[in-house]
Symmetry: C2
Subunit: 371 residues, 2 copies
């Protein structure tokens, strides 16, 4: 069931990413434009593209840079945004989403990218790739713009599962720290547990239990636990990884995104107000562009599904070519760093330690994740 990374690249060191061409709001032409953008920047990346082959071949033929770098998998069906995950699991065998995951499952590709229906993608990923041993609930990790030097914080779970008990939250802490190490090059990420206040006596019972567990594993799993954090710390500097259940995480990131969008539109309004402010906006155009690039959601497009045998990136449904290209880059970076294997080792180690604090298998696995 485990993806075999040694099959995912050619002898030339090429890394193959499996891409779902369908299911996004903008259709396959934008997805092809996105992978072309990636191909231009990165000579090491190759693709398996899933969808109606005739259509896709025509789109790819228009892009010189994709010559000889795309393999096609013909799939007649598409998972729509309205499809229920349970239906897709039962009847989705001929969809491009299913096929995209299949390439990771059989080791042809080092990671999968899809901009389709999140719920269906998670359900299919759990069915076809299976959870890592020791993981009860896989999580979606997203990057949120922050005041930290790396520019972004990791938040998980951003909505894979609306529930999480203390042990799930510990798994999220381990997986999130591992992701921050491999994706953002932070040697000892600071992990915070989201709550309504930083005082120890506040919050739900499962959070207090999770607090103790996450603190207990900090040393062995090589992260710093800063304790409870608040909503304001998601874009803040107190920690690099924010751990929470998928309900709270989903509401929080959407509130943050909505607030940023509202301020953006008020800012545009403010600059249109008078001739003087219109002039100012012309002079400030570079500054404003710099700001909007800094918090551009397309630059960090993609939630990563953590806790599965294989890397799956969920791109925004409304992603444009820049967004698709960012998601491909993320899949590539994680594949290159051997993230899937490191994460599996880390989680297995914790699972072993949970069962038996002194288990030798745990200690062994621990050493496998060198960074």
């Amino acid at each position: 069931m485990t993806a075999q990374p040694d099959q995912t690249g050619s002898a030339s060191g090429q890394i193959i990413i499996s891409v779902d061409a369908m299911g996004g709001d903008a259709g396959p032409s934008v997805v092809v434009a996105g992978i072309a953008k990636s191909a231009k920047k990165n000579p090491q990346v190759g693709f398996i593209l899933h969808g109606p082959e005739d259509t896709l071949k025509k789109l790819v033929a228009k892009r010189r840079v994709l010559d000889g770098r795309v393999v096609f998998r013909d799939c007649p069906d598409v998972v729509t945004m309205e499809d229920k995950p349970s239906q897709v699991v039962r009847n989705g065998k001929n969809t491009s989403m299913w096929s995209t995951l299949e390439s990771v499952r059989n080791g042809e590709a080092a990671g999968a990218v899809s901009c389709g229906n999140t719920g269906a993608l998670m359900a299919l990923s759990m069915l076809r790739l299976r959870r890592l041993p020791g993981v009860t609930r896989p999580a979606i990790a997203i990057l949120f713009p922050s005041g930290n030097p790396q520019g972004f914080n990791v938040l998980l779970d951003a909505g894979a599962d609306i529930r999480a008990d203390a042990r799930d939250l510990l798994q999220y802490a381990l997986m999130g720290a591992s992701y921050a190490r491999n994706g953002m090059n932070l040697l000892r990420p600071r992990v915070g547990l989201l709550n309504v206040g930083t005082e120890e006596h506040k919050g739900k019972a499962e959070l207090k239990e999770a607090q103790a567990l996450i603190a207990e594993y900090a040393e062995r799993a090589n992260y710093e636990f800063v304790g409870f954090v608040e909503g304001s710390d998601i874009p803040g500097k107190r920690c690099d990884v924010i751990v929470t259940d998928g309900f709270t995480g989903n509401v929080a990131i959407k509130t943050g995104e909505g607030t940023a969008r509202m301020i953006g539109s008020l800012l545009r309004e403010a600059f249109k107000y008078s001739p003087l402010s219109r002039l100012a906006s012309l002079l400030a155009v570079t500054s404003l562009r710099r700001l909007s690039k800094r918090i551009d959601p397309r630059r960090v497009n993609g939630g990563v599904f953590l806790g599965l045998n294989g890397t799956v990136i969920k791109s925004h449904g409304s992603a444009d070519d820049t967004g698709i290209s960012a998601a491909v880059k993320l899949a590539f970076t994680l594949a290159q760093s051997g993230f899937a294997e490191r994460l599996a080792a880390r989680v297995a180690s914790a699972a072993a330690l949970t069962q038996d604090e002194a288990a030798p298998t745990g200690a062994q696995a621990e050493k496998q994740e060198s960074r």
Copy 2:
């Protein structure tokens, strides 16, 4: 136990607000500056000020506008931000916070304002003012900047209680709609229930139950129910009132506030980047000031405690004089509109209807809230 509004003003139509001078981060001088600001703008407002009388008298004597408009209540003790609510409930009798609520309880004042410890203020409010009949969990309602014409949306619960069942969420919908009607003059507020998606099949079981209940009461309670909303709708235009439990609500508003703060600081940075951008920021200063005024948290300073016998406004602990003055204005506006009585009638009506759909007491109470 109920505050008697006919005792809260003099014959001249003055409305008395009970103000806790202590417990804020900036000390009593800022609170006195804040009420002086209110007194200057509003000849109809008077104050009962709670705290160490000697100190307060000196501060008030410096403000001409407060001459003859402040009554003092000497209290030796202060509730600090570190005090646990349970301790304050047991040992807080001599605190300014306790005394502030007492003036509402005995009908001397039409509303209370405090910038002290939120948990302690809620615990004391529940103890001394008591919950309205039919309310299990009082809620904190806050105003969040939004794209709607009124400029703000109501969110509740913002953190009074980390739990809420379906019936609590219905109460929040009723109280929030009533608050939007009386505080923002919206005749038929649009109410949304916060969830991780707008699809009917998503979310927790208690949310589905709450969805049915809130829909059922929409007609009778004169609000429009838009169904499930997402985090992005908190600053958005889809509804005017967002209903959620206090854990999710607290995380969401703090995430929104944190995001706004981060963008503000990035914006300042962006404008300092080059000589040209510095010039632009000079030209844009009015536009930027207009924007920052639009989303200034001080202008909407204050969470309102809903579901109690009496109006209590929690001002930010870090509020300056503008913030205090805004909280006083809110208490004044709500007192003037007879909000406490309307809300009590609305909630009692729903409670009666819940017990017996055709109860005549319910129908009677319903008519009392004319707007």
